[in-house]
Symmetry: C2
Subunit: 575 residues, 2 copies
């Protein structure tokens, strides 16, 4: 059976399946969500109004046995940034939806009443059921309820209290194979699902498989692809220490934003480093290695236990640890883990919320370093939607405006993540030009600026950064469409066998003949589609800028400022 | 002595006087503030950062005996809208500064420390003095302190707690002849003075007079001008009932936005009408007629006493009464007067704050109609900068974003005032296209749409509204430069003797030869200067739009929506 579009109309509470239009046939993941949003959403609409849509799409290879192909993309107009938005995540949903023959779910309209709904998807039907019991509950309660009402093989995409409250940093949580959650984190799309009054989407398991046009070629290509991933030294480091291996590396580079972006190094870096985290995990019988979806061969996730060796959090990422750690000066991993757990449960972006907390610290709302107070505010204020909780839960830009703070690290109102653009200039180009607001994953120049992957570009020079970011953003847009985890990029950049094997898999899956150039063209087309949406929403080149404090306040230890001109930034779009 | 620019540099805490550049010589009021801001402020700068400037300029005729010429303009980049901003007001400051030979005060830079300052201006000197005693106090305490430290003849421009807290709706208060205050209300420029850490500007009285080039011609022109004002029937109605005469008129038209813009008529309109207010004032020994500055012959202000006949508020305007009344469904004039008094004292825009309160009511923060709770929130939350107070004090758009409300009546993030654009379409064009965010005073089409002044344009038709708004916005930009109160427009539109007399006064004052065409050209030039600033700040035509709910939700009693297309709105700028 050919893949279908699953359409859910919340205004009249109907569901339907549609054939996939020819234009969308060769797309998946971000390529598909951005194409649908650009085609069907009025760019100037209110993101929390009835005209916005939420689009959920497994990647092109999701549901196959291809290594690391279990990413799901969720798109819409972002209530945080006002731009087009795609956020992707691991978990089990992408593979399950792909096996159910779902090319994409499009959720549109808005119910008139105050009821909440569960969208339930099986091989036979797509149904909307009223939900009452789980309203006001966190994501873990939802995952548990799905397991107890159905069984623990069901998939789940849900919002916590943050999404119900329509907080602008609310994310979507995707159940992982261990019944914990992964997040489509950035840009507040959880508030969009909340505005549609859907608390969770449950997905029934199936024995169906996705169709592979040329099974033999596929298997061979996957073998080569997997080997490239497994052999890559960065994959290996990620497997050992997780992404948090970066704390010491970025601190050493002088680009670890500290104390709300007033220094590039954090005194407490050792306490929150990947190495310390690894030792702590081992000591407490956690899991240093863990996968967010079946088929991942990198396993950068981990299970972090508390001092009593009870589960505390998993998918404990560098960016979250940096944000709550260095940026808020909290040098206690247990406080950070507790905060991470709370944010996962209420369903809120850990980067945005932690950076917002740093701005609140600068405003004097709480003290830098006070991890206990951070946890109290998350639990008692943000999750309950108190006024302070709403201010913080609506993001760093909102905290800045509301408290009159001028040092507010955001681009297009989205918080700048874990790499200071003054000391690592390539990533500044990505923050400035990304169609999605500041987002390191959109063009991860750290690879080349710091890790020496894909060549080498001096992080402190302005030379070559635009081209670096452009090439990576184009490649990323394509990778985000395949269902592949972005971490395949390290192998793809340095191992000549990796990218051809990926393309071979795409061709074998669909019976097509893509070349490397076609993949590049796809990436370019996605970026231009997204950019056109943003321009039609009222954005201009002047939105592709970093906040002025980066140009005015030199950052230690290099004492550098952001010095790439607007004119040079604008050459990003010359392709 | 020729007029001078008074420059105040808060970074190094110095003051100086400068000759007036030739380009600025023929300007005053808004024409001058907008010209200075466009020339000296980087359009993309942070409005609360060191690069923004606050420019204070008396009008061209301020300080003379010309009737109604005592308006002061204050300009800068608005922290609320991000656009260029001019807010003007009566009070004594314009006339006093003009007599001191001050063409404009330009306040720039930002001090490093935590100290607050008083800027003191006399005939001999311009000095900055540290201020401690009045920090945290309201405007009335400042006015009293100026009187007791110096004498009550001193003028005063101050901020209350809202400006100190850098709330985005903070205004600037100008002492009036009775030691009450008038407000440069809109766009949050009080937060800009707060960011410069100036609590108040005190102005010493002087016996000097402004120079008149041709005294005889000036006196004759002023006589004709004054007669035109005094004879005008709208001037007379404003003198009797104040601007609040409009409650019943606009309610009758079906354009009185009620219950957060969900109806065009308010059941409690009689209770809050100008007629009821007049009777209440008379009964309580208040003053139904009162002038905000010396030389006003319209006297639309009043003194409203409480039930014990003690002073409660003055300058009790239709727009404030509408906002706290109809829009929040508060049908008790004493609650509205108390709220008005509190907002005057803390120094916050009564339109923005009341509309924000209406959005908060829609969000369920408090009940529609609960005037007592409104007053409690103003006093205990907004004035103290509690989290809820900051949310509300940062304006209607901020409340909408923070609470996830989609029916948020703002343009360029500034609250839409007292006339519904669905039922009175001309004013919708003004809201959409004004360089300053939604602001009825920028092109008051109510005159022609409702009051039959300057011809007649059907308020419910889309025909002719763009041209009407354009002509009025051009005329208003010129009037706002003269130091004249906008209410001279009623006479200027309908009495052929009024505008020539005004031009004769300008010519007699400066020894120049302006024609009516020159005045129109000045208005056009101001609008284009302001528009150019906004475009350079990142605004586009797409910002010249009303919120989408106006096109989707018909409003009673006419059951009309906003139906003027973006394309038609954009023809506004064809001049």
């Amino acid at each position: 059976m050919a893949d279908k579009i699953f359409r859910v109309n919340m205004t009249d509470l109907t569901t339907s399946t549609e054939d996939v239009p020819a234009d969308w046939m060769g797309l998946g993941g971000r390529g598909l969500t951005s194409t649908v949003v650009a085609a069907e959403v009025e760019p100037t609409c209110h993101p929390l109004g009835s005209k916005n849509k939420l689009v959920i799409a497994p990647g092109m290879l999701s549901g196959t046995v291809a290594a690391n192909s279990g990413r799901i993309s969720i798109g819409g107009k972002s209530p945080l940034t006002g731009t087009i938005k795609e956020a992707n995540s691991g978990g089990t949903a992408a593979q399950m939806l792909a096996k159910l023959g779902c090319k994409a779910i499009i959720i549109e309209g808005m119910p008139k009443g105050e009821s909440w709904y569960n969208l339930h998807i099986t091989t036979e039907s797509i149904t909307l059921n009223e939900e009452t019991e789980l309203i006001g509950k966190g994501n873990f309660a939802v995952v548990e309820a799905v397991a107890s009402r159905m069984d623990d093989k069901h998939g789940c995409i849900s919002i916590g209290q943050a999404g119900e409250l329509k907080l602008l940093s609310a994310n979507l949580s995707i159940k992982d194979p261990d019944s914990h959650v992964r997040s489509c984190g950035r840009g507040g799309l959880g508030a969009v699902l909340g505005s549609k009054r859907i608390k969770f989407i449950s997905i029934a398991p199936t024995d169906s498989k996705v169709k592979i046009a040329d099974q033999e070629a596929f298997t061979a290509a996957n073998r080569a692809f997997t080997k490239a991933l497994v052999d890559n030294p960065i994959s290996q480091a990620l497997g050992q220490y997780g992404t948090n291996v970066l704390v010491n590396i970025i601190n050493e580079s002088g680009g670890l934003p500290t104390r709300n972006f007033t220094s590039g190094q954090f005194e407490g870096h050792e306490e929150i480093s990947g190495e310390t985290m690894y030792d702590t995990i081992v000591e407490r019988n956690g899991k240093p290695k863990h996968n967010c979806h079946k088929g991942c061969v990198i396993q950068c996730s981990q299970v972090y236990n508390d001092a009593k060796s009870d589960y505390k959090t998993s998918g404990f990422e560098y960016e979250s640890i940096w944000a709550m750690g260095a940026d808020c000066c909290v040098d206690n991993l247990d406080h950070i883990a507790e905060a991470d757990h709370l944010m996962d449960d209420m369903g809120i972006d850990s980067i945005e919320t932690s950076v917002a907390m740093g701005v609140a610290m600068e405003a004097g709302v709480l003290d830098f370093g006070d991890g206990a107070e951070v946890c109290r505010i998350l639990k008692e204020e943000v999750a309950t939607g108190s006024p302070l909780g709403r201010i913080i839960g609506c993001g760093a830009g909102n905290v800045g405006r509301t408290f009159g703070v001028t040092r507010v690290p955001v681009v297009k109102n989205q918080a700048i993540p874990a790499y200071d653009p003054r000391a690592i200039k390539g990533i500044g180009i990505t923050y400035a030009t990304s169609t999605q607001g500041a987002d390191h994953t959109m063009g991860y120049t750290i690879a080349t600026n710091i890790l020496g992957v894909g060549g080498s570009v001096d992080p402190l020079s302005s030379e070559g950064q635009v081209e670096l970011s452009r090439n990576l953003q184009i490649a990323t847009a394509a990778i985000d469409s395949t269902g592949m985890c972005l971490f395949i990029a390290f192998a793809a950049l340095d191992d000549a066998t990796c990218l051809p094997a990926l393309i071979d898999m795409l061709n074998a899956r669909f019976g097509i003949n893509l070349t490397a150039d076609d993949v590049t063209s796809l990436g370019m087309k996605i970026l231009k589609t997204e950019r056109a949406f943003n321009l039609a929403a009222g954005f201009t080149n002047l939105d592709d800028r970093l906040p002025e404090f980066f140009s005015e306040e030199p950052i230690a230890p290099h004492n550098v400022v952001w010095d790439i001109s607007g004119k040079e930034i604008d050459t990003f779009w010359d392709f």
